[in-house]
């Protein structure tokens, strides 16, 4: 399970061979709290770009920009890509508007700095933080 415990909210964990893959995995963990990822059709695309030298703050910014754009457009997202060029991050996500028959989990409102860490572990990368639900 890509999650860890927090009293009021939920901790998410993303793991991957690269930093970018770990961030994508973290985004999947976030949106899987809202509905089943496999039920989401990649009908619409949102794009994210930002500059951030600190990998931990980059993880929080990545998640928060995805959530911001998803809420702005009434979308639920299920597929993610992310590329990095030094401090510049550029990503895409695909999803669709909420459908009545979709399973409703909990809304994730934002990523926090609580228990935030981005580190190399077991030959890969791991990104984690608590998200506010």
């Amino acid at each position: 399970m890509p999650y860890f415990e927090h009293d009021a909210d939920v901790g998410v964990v993303g793991r991957g061979a690269t930093l970018e893959e770990a961030f994508v995995s973290g985004a999947q963990a976030v949106f899987a709290l809202m509905t089943h990822l496999e039920s989401i059709q990649p009908r619409e695309r949102v794009q994210v770009q930002f500059e951030e030298a600190d990998p931990e703050l980059a993880f929080v910014t990545w998640i928060n920009q995805l959530l911001g754009h998803a809420h702005e457009n009434g979308l639920v997202l299920g597929k993610f890509e992310l590329a990095r060029d030094g401090e510049r991050w550029r990503g895409s996500a695909w999803g669709e508007p909420w459908r009545a028959e979709m399973e409703r989990g909990v809304d994730v409102k934002g990523a926090t700095l609580t228990m935030l860490s981005v580190a190399q572990r077991d030959g890969g990368w791991e990104a984690r933080c608590v998200v506010d639900v």
């Binding site: 999650y3 415990e5 927090h6 009293d7 009021a8 909210d9 939920v10 809202m34 509905t35 600190d54 703050l57 929080v60 910014t61 928060n64 920009q65 959530l67 911001g68 754009h69 809420h71 702005e72 009434g74 639920v76 909420w98 979709m102 409703r104 989990g105 909990v106 809304d107 409102k109 934002g110 990523a111 926090t112 700095l113 609580t114 935030l116 608590v130 506010d132 639900v133």
Partner: protein
């Protein structure tokens, strides 16, 4: 929580003696031994970190419902003096800026609503947008949203949502001063364009309650309460806009702290001096989010009235009070016999002005401010009144809810949403929700005992109990 580090002042308040060489302000924890034992050690760690922030006045405090938060504990109270380098902290306000409770009192009784309870529950579920993925019926453009951010609940009344009489019973008459919509990012505004008049999810709810017991007849009379009466409580906040502001300023203030000469004991305590450009920018955005929350609850109150009017024509739903519990407010307080303007952070704590406070509506001036402690969906809630003693004890602050007793993950392991809802229905509580996962996470057993929290709040001198409420209908996000 490990109590061996604490020193008991009396059975309802505790301090934390400083370690040799430790430099910080005093820490005070309110609550019984039993309540404190159920708290995570992180609560102690977090409030001790708050006591190290610059410009703190008096103690850093936790209320009896405290639990582990982000930087600040939820249930944390801390006051800062701008003239002595005091800070404003985004973490000290929380992500759901100005989350709070609007309480409506009706002239209906339990006997009146019971024959139509199911119809009422279904009507509220149909007409109150709630839960993940549920947009509102109102769609604004950015200039209109800017008017919301400047106007608060008064804007909503101007648009036909409610009555001018409501505003007297909303903090700051429904409009926070000092809002600067220009300090709110474009993304934060875009998130909110379709979210006005929505309840949200997580621990937010709309609950139809009945007054089971009056404990303070005089205050109940001032608040217009009687046994058997139906009330409605709406718990929600500034929705996507508040969260976006919170997360954006948390990152920007964390990055600015070093430049501003602040050493953060925890990065999540990101803050800036009140008298700095960064601090003023956050205050402007925070007050704009407060107005968003006040407008949102005003709209939801009016949507609720329409549902009630359909089932119970010609009955009254008046605003008893609207109080936020994720805030930082500039307030005058007496400190060592001197009147000082302080920025009081209440993260998961309710303002609780005592009798005679000039900001209270005339109707409540003698009784004190109504304080609402929201419980879980299967147990109950309390209405209390602010006390004179709370001014000296906690800058006029009190508990805001039952407080979680276990994590969401632990609750999911223990309860199934559908079975829980069936069980509550057999106990006479109709719950309406689109999320079975959300229902399980919000199971009554996942929260502390609200009776003990309310008792501790009174015994600690923070507020006095006035009425016990029991739920009949709960719409959950």
């Amino acid at each position: 929580m490990d109590l061996t580090r604490l020193s008991e002042v009396d059975p309802w308040s505790w301090t934390v003696p400083k370690l040799p060489g430790e430099s910080r302000h005093e820490v005070k924890l309110y609550g019984s031994r039993e309540l404190l034992q159920t708290m995570d050690d992180k609560v102690l760690e977090q409030i001790t970190n708050v006591a190290r922030l610059p410009g703190l006045v008096g103690a850093a405090m936790t209320m009896p419902d405290a639990h582990w938060g982000y930087g600040f504990p939820i249930g944390g109270v801390a006051a800062f003096d701008a003239e002595r380098g005091g800070i404003i902290s985004a973490g000290g306000v929380g992500f759901d800026i100005s989350c709070g409770i609007r309480c409506l009192r009706t002239d209906l009784t339990l006997a009146d609503i019971m024959p139509r309870l199911k119809l009422l529950a279904d009507g509220l579920y149909r007409d109150i947008p709630a839960g993940v993925g549920e947009g509102g019926h109102i769609r604004l453009d950015v200039p209109a949203l800017d008017r919301v951010l400047a106007g608060g609940a008064a804007w909503a009344v101007e648009q036909g949502y409610g009555e001018t009489a409501d505003l007297e019973f909303v903090e700051e008459h429904g409009r926070a001063a000092g809002a600067v919509p220009g300090e709110v990012s474009a993304l934060a505004k875009k998130r909110q364009l379709g979210e006005m008049g929505t309840l949200g999810s997580g621990n937010h709810y709309l609950e139809v309650q009945w007054v089971e017991r009056i404990l303070d007849q005089e205050a109940a009379c001032a608040f217009g309460l009687f046994e058997g009466q139906i009330l409605v409580s709406i718990h929600c906040g500034s929705r996507g806009l508040g969260h976006q502001i919170g997360t954006e300023y948390l990152v920007s203030l964390a990055k600015a702290a070093g430049r501003l000469g602040i050493t953060l004991p925890d990065r999540e305590l990101a803050c800036a001096p009140i008298n700095s450009d960064e601090g003023q920018a956050y205050i402007g955005a925070m007050n704009a989010a407060t107005n968003c929350a006040l407008a949102n609850r005003q709209i939801l109150a009016q949507l609720t009235r329409r549902v009630f009017a359909h089932q119970f024509p010609n009955r009254r739903l008046e605003t008893l009070f609207d109080v936020s519990h994720n805030t930082c407010k500039a307030e005058w307080h007496m400190v060592e016999s001197k009147r000082r303007l302080l920025h009081v952070h209440r993260k998961g704590a309710t303002r609780a002005f005592g009798p005679g406070h000039p900001e209270l509506p005339g109707r409540y001036r003698e009784a004190g401010q109504p304080v609402i402690i929201g419980g879980s969906m299967g147990t109950g809630s309390y209405i209390l009144a602010g006390t004179t003693a709370s001014e000296a004890r906690a800058f006029s602050s009190a508990s805001h809810g039952a407080g979680r007793a276990m994590s969401r993950h632990a609750a999911l392991k223990r309860w199934q949403g559908r079975e829980l809802l069936k069980d509550l229905e057999t106990r006479g509580v109709l719950v309406r929700t689109r999320s079975m996962r959300g229902a399980a996470e919000e199971a009554p057993g996942a929260y502390k005992d609200v009776e003990r929290v309310a008792e501790a709040t009174e015994r600690a001198g923070l507020a006095r109990r006035v009425a016990v409420l029991r739920p009949k209908v709960c719409v959950k996000g």
